[in-house]
Symmetry: C2
Subunit: 450 residues, 2 copies
């Protein structure tokens, strides 16, 4: 993942460290941009990491730790002396710190937490599951009161000098800390100084409950072009805010996970080349085995029709072609629907419309494929009866694959199973076995085999 | 895509329109948030749309048109009277307006452009391809000069009262309009009034050339947590800026496209349920046919081994199982690599590392699957020779599928073909045909068939 330039810097830093010139190595590292620093650190071995981070400015280390992958950050923090680890965590954004503590062993997390100067910033964030609004939100946000003037608000900002980058939205709360409006920094800057905040604030705030799934939060922010999304409890009390940079990370990683799941593998938790071969194998073998065993069903179907296959060996020539086509048609449908469900483009109430859509598309596709299959079988030297068999089977299989491809993701969603997991490979296996059954049944009927 | 509440509003608005009470319908629509207004409009028929938009405030109509899909927006604008269309386009963000004009027929676009009050805002944006930085950027951005004080800058903002939401980054340019720094609104607000802009600006600005691919822009913004990305020409002259909301749309739509392509279909240009059945069929039939014809190769392979299949019918029972497993293993690899290439996680120079990674993972997976396949074949009542054949074939096919699954996306990228297009279904077809060849060759060797 390093560019050539960074590769050179990495070599330089390594050389300085070997010479024992730690301060020069740190200087060189600090000349880079924060995400690039993290790239370098993640390419060093754990001894080199510890040497560097121990002597570095803790706020810079904190930025680096935030930019590492979860696993890398947890490993690094566990390797550091407790004192250094605590200082670094104190400099991290509270939401990132809470995520990190959640990735450590409970013992280490407990020790670090007990030594923090202000554990109360992080503790409330620890109780929320990682993939919910509560797990994503930061507790570092700025609130205004409705009766403040714009001048007072700006003066307050100047005094606080908030370090957080994300003060583009300022939340307005009432005396019980209930969210009553939002005003953005642009509005504050261009408003007349004596205007009251409540006069310019937007009261129709879009907010989410603390337990909302992260994917839904991301879809809301992207739909309404929000830079920050306030998180509230059932009383509308403001608990935190999700910022756009975290939301972008969620969108990217949810899409990556969905793609890996659609490809029939457990999602990787680390970047690909950093994931060990053993770990890559573990993420894949489960599905591969499960599918192998369920796919055995196809063998059972074929054995059931052994005599027909014995009588007309040519029947077997079309097996891969037919199940391949069924798999392709089903996958086309299921990937489209799974993605549309993920982005909120279709919802559960659209189920029947989607099904009807696919039934008609499947019918059209089936007719076209049947004609092509008929001609292809003839040009291959099959007699018309066999060509007709293949043709009828293709039609039925394509139609069936489309229906199954639209039903599966919807049923999965209803059963609260991730549709991306079941859709790809489970679909192929189902289509394969049923498709063969259809094909050989039709063969018996048309060719008059017993 | 409408929620129940919106469904009700839609019914109300339709009722008002039927009664001829257009102004009441408009009022009701304006009570909603902008993206919800677009949802309603997109569910109305074109006559209803025209009636509403003709009488509505043009700036509200402009927001609605921006939130529609490209196709919907183009259809609507083409239906409107020229005068209304021109007024609406003038109220749109320049980048959105340019995109819209690009989606219209050249004749209509020319007429509208010639009637715009300030065509020079949009004209330069028209020359850039849609999927590049130039096609994404807006020409509406705010520049400061380095010698201005913070006070002067804020006062200027107050006077301009910029309508654009995205003034969180202010770009600093020299006398030749070359980008020399960036300062964010937070820095301006909290700085001492008499500080000069050049003292607080960040001079290490990340910018992109106007021809940069949109996916690369999105990856940069997400990596460096940017709210806006300046776009420059070869002389570093600032031409425009990409804002975070457009970037989020790019990330989401690129992921959707990749998923649809991996599923073996041309990406839909409209939301799923709005795409007609005919159009869904068209997007899929090409690949389905192409794959059907290439998959015929498997039939050729099987015919080549006709005598073996005739001699041992049990060989055919394992065909779907073997090609299914090969397809699954290859798809696992190829989806992971295609995604890693798309997010910039691996680059072309990592080619050999990725290949070596997959060779080892494929070996491990192959060994495990071979053992399982051997046992499965035995429990199915196959003799040891057949079980050994299946086992050896599974090992070879899994290893081969993993190698092919890593080579294909990389070769595609090098040939400047989108890896998502070739990876999924092309891979299965290749693995199927070669896998069968391997299987039946091994069968001949182990079972002593001619």
């Amino acid at each position: 993942m390093l560019t050539q330039e960074l590769d050179k810097t990495l070599t330089e830093i390594r050389a300085y460290l070997e010479q024992g010139n730690v301060s020069r190595a740190i200087e060189r590292l600090e000349e880079l941009r924060p995400p690039e620093r993290a790239d370098i650190i993640s390419d060093l071995d754990s001894k080199e990491q510890v040497v560097l981070l121990k002597d570095m400015d803790h706020s810079i280390s904190a930025d680096i730790v935030e930019d590492l992958t979860d696993q890398e950050a947890a490993d690094l923090i566990a390797d550091l002396p407790t004192r250094t680890a605590v200082r670094i965590i104190e400099q991290m954004e509270p939401d990132e710190a809470a995520d990190l503590l959640g990735d450590l062993t409970p013992e280490i997390a407990q020790i670090l937490l007990s030594k923090l100067e202000r554990p109360e910033d992080i503790q409330p964030l620890l109780i929320h599951p990682d993939e919910t609004a509560g797990g994503l939100m930061t507790s570092e946000f700025i609130t205004l009161r409705p009766h403040m003037t714009v001048q007072q608000a700006l003066r307050a900002l100047r005094t606080w000098k908030p370090e957080t980058e994300d003060i583009y939205y300022l939340f307005v709360v009432d005396e019980s800390k209930r969210l009553s409006g939002v005003v953005n920094l642009r509005q504050l800057v261009i408003a007349e100084p004596l205007t009251r905040v409540e006069e310019i604030m937007d009261t129709e705030v879009i907010s989410v409950l603390v337990g909302t799934d992260q994917e839904e939060c991301a879809n809301l922010m992207s739909r309404y072009d929000l830079l920050a999304l306030p998180v509230v409890d059932h009383e509308k009390v403001l608990l935190g805010a999700i910022t756009i940079d975290d939301m972008v990370d969620v969108l990217v990683s949810e899409a990556t996970e969905d793609i890996q799941k659609l490809g029939g593998a457990q999602p990787l938790t680390q970047p690909y080349l950093k994931t060990s071969v053993i770990s890559v194998t573990q993420k894949r073998i489960g599905w591969l085995l499960l599918l192998f065993l369920t796919e055995s069903l196809t063998g059972t179907v074929l054995r059931h029709f052994e005599e027909r296959l014995q009588a007309v060996v040519a029947l077997s020539f079309f097996i891969p072609l037919l199940i391949g086509t069924g798999g392709n048609a089903g996958t086309q449908t299921t990937t489209t629907l799974t993605r549309a469900l993920a982005t909120g483009e279709i919802r559960m109430k659209d189920t029947l419309r989607a099904l009807w859509h696919e039934a008609r598309a499947g019918f059209l596709l089936g007719v076209i494929m049947a004609i092509v299959a008929y001609l292809r079988a003839l040009t291959w030297g099959s007699d018309t009866a066999l060509a007709l068999t293949v043709s009828a089977a293709v039609f039925t299989i394509v139609l069936w694959a489309n229906m199954l491809g639209s039903i599966l993701p919807i049923v999965a969603t209803r059963l609260r199973i991730d549709p991306a997991v079941v859709s790809g490979p489970v679909l192929s296996t189902l289509v394969d076995a049923t498709g063969l059954f259809v094909y050989l049944s039709i063969a018996g009927w048309i060719l008059g085999l017993s």
